[in-house]
């Protein structure tokens, strides 16, 4: 091989490497910039009062406590309403449903549900839960609406996690006389759990950030206190942020960035929780 050829290969190598680094940087830098920008601008607004007091003067003063709590309630409600149904549907579709046109249609519908714009879910919730079922503008209606949206993701990730469990484990269990349900319960589900948890928490943090659907089914801009029942209206961080930024003249900029920062922290800490649970489940499973 001539010296030129070697030099040319070296150059190609370096170019390719450079492109890869560049592409990664293009992805990473805006994210870093965004986070730093929000932290720098929002940190000033964060105070004990900001985190623990209800808003006053149309949100220009006081805090965002009800919005933080409202977002947690919303995530909890969504979780309770979507997780069991999602996992059970995932089990049914992978383990029990026969492979026929109906099952394929259902699977396709579920995949497509994930792509439906969130405002459409909002209108659906308004029509079904708020009006037809008379749950009114409430935490319950909003949780149900977000649960419908989250279901697409929970079912899909549950299915994928269940399918990924090696056939050898199922056979090993069935071959010593475990029933199909025992096999699912004691072999398949424990194996699929980390995947299911990851999918669920990602769906939850997405729900926490949703503004459009809750806008029409129960979120309020300012409430003096916390919701005392599922039938109350509620505040939520993303909607509060949207209204504060777009509809309140004279809103201090720092407050807006402060709300954004809190929302970011809530979502990111939920994601960290998912990673933490996953690592723990995995460690216990491999028995150390």
């Amino acid at each position: 091989m001539s010296v030129q050829t070697i030099a040319r290969r070296e150059l190609t190598q370096r170019t390719a490497f450079g492109l890869l680094v560049l592409a990664t940087a293009i992805v990473a830098i805006p994210v870093l910039f965004l986070i730093i920008y929000i932290v720098v601008n929002g940190a000033g607004a964060i105070s004990w009062e900001f985190l623990t007091q209800p808003p006053s003067q149309a949100g220009k003063a006081g805090g965002i406590f009800p919005a933080i709590v409202g977002t947690f309630y919303l995530m909890l409600g969504t979780l309770i309403l979507s997780l069991p149904v999602g996992v059970l549907a995932g089990i049914y579709l992978t383990e029990y449903a026969r492979d026929n046109w109906l099952t394929r249609l259902i699977n396709m519908a579920i995949l497509n549900l994930a792509g439906v714009p969130s405002i459409v879910y909002g209108l659906f919730g308004l029509g079904l839960f708020v009006m037809a079922m008379h749950f009114g503008m409430s935490l319950l209606s909003a949780s149900l609406t977000l649960a419908c949206q989250a279901l697409a993701m929970t079912i899909t990730t549950s299915r994928e996690a269940i399918i990924a469990v090696p056939r050898e484990y199922r056979e090993g269990s069935l071959a010593i006389g475990a029933t199909k349900w025992q096999t699912i319960r004691h072999v398949v589900l424990p194996q699929a759990l980390p995947g299911i948890i990851t999918g669920t928490v990602l769906a939850m943090s997405r729900a926490a950030g949703e503004t459009a659907p809750i806008l029409v089914v129960g979120a309020a801009f300012i409430l003096p206190g916390l919701p005392s029942s599922p039938f109350d209206q509620f505040m939520a961080l993303p909607y509060h942020l949207y209204t504060a930024a777009a509809h309140v003249p004279g809103m201090p900029k720092a407050n807006i960035w402060g709300i954004a920062l809190v929302l970011l922290v809530v979502v990111l800490s939920f994601n960290s929780l998912a990673v933490f649970i996953r690592v723990r489940v995995r460690r216990r499973r491999f028995g150390s």
């Binding site: 071959a175 491999f286 028995g287």
Partner: protein, 271 residues
């Protein structure tokens, strides 16, 4: 039928009780016939080796006895497969109950991703035995039987996945023994193991055959010769359906095969 074995010689070792029996069994996967007209008797507390070229239906044949073929969509069986003279494809057969009596060890060791103890206790627990003391007894006995106890007795709580391949396979055998089966099916149990681990499993099989009826599928003819009492040679017909070519005492099948095709196979002319 093209198989020209003499039926009388087929009926295993005379003085012993027939444990497993297939009679004119055909197995289909959809339109594809995987096994054709296979009849053989397997006597109690013996080791029977199923040998033959790849794809001839050895594993499918083995899976008749615990109805694992049922898991494959479109699988169909006709003819009779019997344990203690009861047709296991009959109407009122509980497959879960059947699989307790007929355990299976797979080609690739497949311990569950849980502790060694939990692996062995898995079967008994599913069958309703939950008392800790009782389970401890079962686990110890099964691991002893599988010649694994001394190696793992101090780390029962550790992950089964940390064991070596050979240990994992013996653990899988212990897991089967824990449900006290009568028959143990082994589907190429040593193909993923090194020679030393293989010899350990073979020794184990010999000692287990005092109490259990063992049927083993193997690619390794030396292994079949070393370990089995009886051997069955399967091969494919033109349409890829597996047929039984010859069945007889291992020593005879390997030294003095009756069928030309068996001779060709064991002398390495094809397969």
């Amino acid at each position: 039928m093209s198989a020209n074995y003499a039926p009388l010689d087929n009926r295993a070792v005379h003085s012993q009780v027939i444990k497993l029996k297939t009679e004119k069994v055909n197995l289909y996967y959809g339109n594809f016939q995987a096994l054709r007209n296979i009849s053989l008797d397997i006597s109690k507390q013996s080791i029977t080796a199923i040998i033959g070229p790849s794809g001839c239906g050895k594993s499918s044949f083995l899976r008749l006895f615990n109805r694992m073929n049922d898991l494959i969509v479109g699988a169909r069986v006709n003819g009779a497969v019997a344990i203690d003279d009861i047709n296991i494809y009959g109407q009122d057969i509980d497959v879960v109950e059947l699989r307790k009596r007929v355990g299976m060890v797979f080609q690739k060791p497949n311990p569950f991703p849980m502790s060694i103890f939990d692996n062995v206790a898995f079967g008994p627990r599913r069958h309703g035995r939950t008392k800790r003391g009782e389970l401890e007894g079962i686990v110890e006995r099964s691991l002893h039987q599988a010649a694994l106890w001394d190696e793992v007795k101090d780390k029962l709580g550790e992950s089964a996945l940390a064991l070596s391949g050979g240990q994992q396979q013996r653990l899988c055998i212990a897991r089967v023994l824990a449900v006290e089966p009568e028959v143990i099916l082994m589907d190429e149990p040593c193909s993923a193991l090194d020679p030393i681990a293989t010899l350990k499993i073979e020794d184990l099989m010999r000692s287990l055959s005092d109490d259990y009826t063992i049927v083993i599928v193997t690619h390794n003819m030396q292994q079949a010769a070393r370990v089995s009492d009886m051997a069955a040679f399967l091969m494919m017909e033109r349409d890829r359906a597996g047929i039984l070519v010859e069945y007889g005492p291992t020593s005879q099948l390997f030294t003095n095969p009756k069928d030309k095709r068996t001779e060709d196979y064991i002398t390495g002319r094809f397969g």
